[in-house]
Symmetry: C2
Subunit: 197 residues, 2 copies
DNA sequence: ACCTGAACACCGTTCAAGT
DNA sequence: ACCTGAACACCGTTCAAGT
């Protein structure tokens, strides 16, 4: 009858899982290391073996967020057509969809406060996401459906528009109905912005 | 010799001023109501007369942020030319300039967690800012320099692009050097996106 | 009306000690 | 290696009481 074994087994992932649930249901401000420990059935000091600070846990959370975002975008490309417009459309919907479904997490991912040494690993993972968009746009250039020029310079306005739209919906500036049809306009506008010539 | 008079005089604005300083210098996570009270020379319970909770103070801070952002954009239009491209350029630089100079504050302004009843007044003030951009774009339409169509639908991609670019620079995704020259590309892209036809 | 003092129920983090 | 127990220095918030 060892209801609570001394070794948890996988405390790290249990904490992360519980943290993400709380983040989704009650927001980042409701995240408490002590409460997490309680819910997972462990002493208040236990989490410190796996996360040297609360911020470290938040960083880890943000990192998994970037990984899942990258997966979502990659998945969106599977079913998409070959034309640049189709691929961009799919990626944009995947990004905004992720943002709506993980508002608090997205807020965390792009918040200003990341511990200096964590933002190294975090920055690397974050760039995997922007690399996907760069590749998407590079493809478009090769197909002659995107204007010529340095890839990063063409891509930046595209990324900014997507990121901004996601941010506006997540922060509630855009009423949910607008967020729906507005995306069509956004994609059309982006396409005009990076069309050839 | 009343070094610390019983009535502070203007505790509310003193707290807000100190809070903004701390926000700028040490970030939102370093904001403590008790510390603020200490620094301003008042008891820990004193702030509660002026802000019914810590979140209420954060909301007030966000509100002043939106007011100053609106002022900055309005000021940018004073010296700008009449052409839509000039006005957009000025507004964009004002917005991104504000974002860079007030990174933590911008994070706060567009964060997900605003108390339900504060987001009413806050939403109103926030809309003053987007109204400025709507007016800017409406002018462009009347001059024949912006494509025709429902104002909100034309404006949304413009706002998204500006907001996203500001967010990317603030969260450190864009290296500071890129943030500089990247803005030119962004503005050019926005102009193509909302050009006539 | 505005503030103090003291209390309450929490935090994050550290560190000896246990298994 | 992983966790507990207890402690430390903080929090935000409330409420009677003072001016």
């Amino acid at each position: 009858m060892t209801n609570r074994p001394y070794h948890h087994g996988d405390l790290r992932v249990a904490l992360l899982a519980r943290a993400e649930e709380t983040l989704r249901e009650r927001g980042a401000s409701a995240l408490s290391l002590r409460e997490l420990a309680r819910e997972v059935g462990v002493s208040p000091a236990a989490p410190s073996r796996h996360f040297k600070s609360k911020q470290a846990l938040l960083d880890a959370l943000a990192l998994t967020g970037f990984e899942r975002l990258a997966e979502a975008i990659a998945a969106s490309q599977e079913g998409a057509g070959e034309a640049f417009a189709d691929r961009l459309d799919a990626a944009a919907r995947a990004y905004v969809g992720f943002a709506v479904a993980n508002a608090a997490l997205l807020d965390l991912m792009f918040s200003v406060k990341h511990s200096p040494q964590a933002s190294e690993a975090l920055g690397a993972t974050a760039h995997r996401w922007s690399d996907q968009l760069l590749e998407l746009i590079g493809d478009g250039q090769r197909r002659g459906e995107v204007r010529e020029g340095p890839l990063e310079r063409i891509a930046l306005p595209v990324v900014a528009a997507l990121h901004g739209y996601a941010g506006l919906t997540v922060s509630g500036v855009l009423p949910p109905e607008v967020a729906e049809y507005g995306l069509d306009d956004l994609i059309a506008s982006i396409l005009r912005g990076c069309a050839p010539q």
